[in-house]
Structure formats: C-alpha cells, structure tokens
Symmetry: C2
Subunit: 316 residues, 2 copies
C-alpha cells in the first residue's frame, strides 16, 4: 500500500516528492488547501458586479468544509492516472453543488439553521433572497466549470460527465432526496426507506464525485466503473450513518453546526432505528463492503481506501 | 419572405405541408402545443418518487406560458436547417431554466407573488420548501437534457452549448440580473443601469435561446453568430420594455399575474424613466435594430423576424 502508482506522477509533483508517498493526513491537508485555492480562483471576484451576490457566493463556499467530495474525486482520478488539474475542476464542480445545497437547506423554509461550519449561515449573514440566488448561481457555476475546459479524453465522455452531475443533483438524485427527507419528518421509516432517502440525499453526489474523478483519465471498463460505483455507494451510506451517530453524540461547539437537531425535529435517523452501538457496527460493515470493491485496483486505489477510513473513523 | 428554406424540411413535415408555409400564428400555436408535449414527456412522471416534488415540477412548467424562448430556439434553428428534434430539446432546456427562475422569483423572500399564469404560484399550491426544490431540480434537469443526447454536429459544440446555458443562467447572467434587481429596489437607476440589469435578468436567457437553436445545425461563422446575438440582445431588451409598458397598463385579469406590482414595489422600469409613450417608441426602435441584424440570412430568418414582431406588438 506504500507504493504510488507510476501514472500518478502529477500528483507526486504537487503533493509529495517523487519516491516518497505522503501520509494520508499530509495528502488530505495539502489537497484541502489546494481545493480552497482552486475554488477561490474559479468563483467570481467580489469586485465584479453583482458584488453582493458574488461576495455571498464566496462566503458560502470558501473558508471551511472537509472537502470530502473533491478528495474523493482526486482519489478516484489516481486510479486512472488522470491529470490533477482535471480532478481539481471536477472536484470543485461537485463541491459547488454541495455548497449550494447547504445554502438552500439552511433557509428558514427548510431546516432554518443559523450556524454552518461555525459561521452564520448565508441567509443570516446576507439575506434570504441573496441566499436563494447564491444557491441558484452556484449550481449554474458547477455546470459552467464542467463544460468550460477539457476534462476528459474525449468531448463525448465529458458530456456524459455533465449528465452524471446533472442527474446526481436533480430530482432523482440530491434534490429528490431532500424532498423525501421533507416528507419523512415525523414519519417512522424502515431501514430500507431510510437507505433509499440517503442514497438520494447525500449518496448521489458522493457517487458522482468518485465517478467524475475516474472519468477524467484513461477509460475504465464497465466492470471497473461498477466497482467504483459500489465503493462510492457504501461510502456514501456509511458517511450518513456516521453523521447520524455524530449528531446524536456531539455538542454544538465541536460539530460547528447545531447538534442534536435531527432528534429535535423528529427526523428519522439510523441511531433512532438501530441505536448508537448497532449504527457504529453498520458503518464499519459498510466500510468493509466498500473497500472490498476496490480490490482489483491494487495500490492505485490506496487513497480511496484511506478516505473510506477517514469518513468512517472520523470520531470513533 | 414567403419562401420556406429547403433545409427546413423537418419543420415542414411537422408544422406544415411541403410547399405551403403556415402563417405565424399557426406556426406558433402548433409549436406551443408541440413544446408542451415535449416538456410533458421530458419531465419526470408524478407517479415516480419523489412524487410530490415531481408533481410540483410538472405544475410549475406545464399548462401555460407563451414559450417565447423555445419559439426563439426553433426559429433560430431554421436559420441553420437543424433537425426539429434538437431544437425541441434545446428549447425545453431553456424553458426549464426560465420556469425555475419564475418559481424562485415568486417565493415570499423574493417577489412574494401568489398568482402566475392565472394559477396559484408553486409555493402557494404546494409549500415553500417544495417550491425551492422544484426550482433547484428544474435547473439540474435543464443540464441533464442538454447533455443527454446528441444536439449538435460535434460533441465539442454541444459542450460549448452547455457552457452557454450555464453562463446565461448564472451570476453573470440571469441570477446576477435578479441580484441587481433586488439591489435596485427603491433606487433611481439611469437608462444604462436599467439596461445593464435587464441584459442580465431576462436578456441572457433570450440570447441563449437564439444561440443554442442556431448551434444545433451546420456551423455558422463568427460574424453570423454575432448577428444573431445582436438580434437576440435587442429583442431581449424590447421584451422587457414591452413588459414594463404592459405592467403599467394592464389589469390583473388579462395579464394572468399580479399587475402594477413594479410601481407598487418602487422597482425601476422603463415607463418610470421614460413615460409610456417614449417607452413604446423605444421598443419599436429596438425591434428595428434587431431585424436589421438578420438581413444577410434572408428568408431563413423569417420566423425570427416574425417573433420580433410578436414580442414587440403583443399589446400595442
């Protein structure tokens, strides 16, 4: 696992000296800094009209977040030895979709949250109408990025990548998951129903992160793509289980957002259905299933495997 | 002007017998019906989960609207003899962006409108959270459509079309225009400032309609594209001037939406700056500039010319 794949030389140039593979923490920290710089460059300057909107877009995206989705895109791009520049744009596009969803979720008509990543939410810092437009414009910008420069070996592949993100974001992906979430407040869901919700709400975008990263480089066959998709599906689910556990356990200060809110609002969670202990076990089982799917990729998938651990082991 | 271009044979098959060119009203009515059917087919069924979201998306898009943007896309596609199927998808994509913007504009934190196209607005008929998600999901669906099937002679051209729509919808296009509009409530704008706002708020999407339609077929040179863009720019501005005049003149019943709202809210308008009489003259001047730009295209641009008249002559 300590062998960097030769075709990932561009990663080594950026994130580690050739021959010495940086540890996960070092790699992730360097990439988080890199993605912050990339996002800052890609977002419109607050000096350009409409200034208030651009200022609010930058406020909503920059200066926080674990950047799990861009990290997944980078790690998946390592599997196919894709150029780091492509993974950065793809990762940024997915992160913009994620950021827009947070801004809209926090609005009073949705979760009505006032704190996000330890800062006032966008509509608190600016106003509701601006926050609405911030989300709308961030979504457009994601598709602008994904179509504005070469990101794949062939334009047709890149068109398929646009479609992949559009489907993952839309009514049969993330936005649909939000809608199911709204409908399920106060309802008692079964485990399959809860899983169905999360596969849409957070899972679709996590799968898109991995698949978009993987499509930036040399083409993979259908079986390899299906394996990456399986990895991403289980990591996405584990991510949500861990979130539920953290929400049940944490206090507001360490989480950087209002804690215990799921139980307060009678939202169905894995903890509610299974208890904390069994929910933890489930996250570990999902991690194992995810990592198993990576087996044929060997050391090229080392960062994906490390990310699986990062996602599941965050706090326990 | 009574000669249908030979390369538009697919249009003739659908919208008129070969050799007899239907009048504008007939053409527009047939196309409006066609675009309604296309949108109905492309929108997710209300039987598919999440049902409430899909039902609300269909409510927001179907059963009304002049479909000016799809008509422009169809008319522009005639200039290059593009297949009608492509113009339909492109027109539907632009219409979805337009429909999403109306749903979000109507929300309480924006214009707080309760009536649209003679029906309760989406958040009144459903709820605010659903209306928010409807707009978000309609935007995703537009990019899904634009990337999901062949719409241009080359995939690279189609990628450029995706980017064109993303830019037109985003912070330097429609969403940006909305933001400038918000900032300008209660402000006294100069004519150039008002124009700047409308070039973004409504103009960007109208230009995208024309340019996307034109890129579905044989490639045009830069000068021809610039002429179509000039046409679209002035038609877009004229559209807004006419809207301001109609808003000042009409009553709620005939307009199908709450009339006189601009003046009520102290929003800057052309009528406020110029008076109704001069605003009408300005619309006619803009129409003339737009039509002049079409001269080299000859009869292939006849529908675009007719649409210019339709937009400007709607009510006076």
């Amino acid at each position: 696992m300590n062998v960097q794949n030769a075709s990932s030389s561009q990663f080594e140039e950026i994130f580690g000296a050739s021959g010495s593979r940086p540890g996960f923490q070092e790699w992730a920290a360097a990439l988080q800094e890199h993605i912050e710089a990339v996002l800052s460059k890609l977002l419109p300057s607050a000096d350009v009209a409409p200034r208030r909107l651009h200022e609010a877009m930058r406020y909503a995206v920059l200066g926080g977040g674990k950047r799990v989705r861009p990290l997944l895109a980078f790690a998946a791009s390592e599997v196919v030895g894709a150029p780091a520049e492509r993974a950065a744009i793809v990762g940024a596009a997915v992160e913009l979709i994620h950021a827009y969803s947070l801004v809209h979720d926090d609005l009073p008509c949705m979760d009505d949250d006032v704190l996000r990543r330890g800062k006032p939410t966008c509509h608190v810092q600016f106003d509701e109408a601006t926050a609405l437009l911030v989300g709308d414009a961030l979504q457009s910008l994601a598709f602008d990025l994904l179509s504005g420069q070469t990101l794949a070996p062939a334009p047709q592949t890149q068109l398929e990548m646009v479609r992949l993100l559009a489907s993952a974001a839309g009514s049969r992906g993330m936005a649909g998951g939000q809608s199911i979430d709204l409908e399920s407040i106060g309802e008692v869901l079964s485990l399959p129903e809860l899983e169905f919700m999360h596969i849409h709400k957070t899972g679709a975008l996590i799968r898109a992160s991995v698949l978009l990263g993987a499509r930036c480089g040399a083409a993979l066959d259908a079986e390899a793509l299906a394996r990456l998709d399986r990895f991403a599906k289980y990591i996405g689910l584990a991510f949500q289980v861990v979130d539920d556990v953290l929400d049940a356990e944490s206090n507001t200060a360490t989480l950087g957002k209002t804690a215990g809110k799921d139980a307060d609002r009678n939202k169905p969670t894995y903890v509610q259905l299974l208890g904390i202990s069994r929910a933890r076990e489930l996250a570990l089982e999902m991690r194992a299933t995810a990592i198993e799917a990576l087996a044929p990729f060997g050391p090229r998938a080392a960062r994906l495997e490390e990310l699986a651990d990062f996602i599941v082991m965050r706090r326990f």
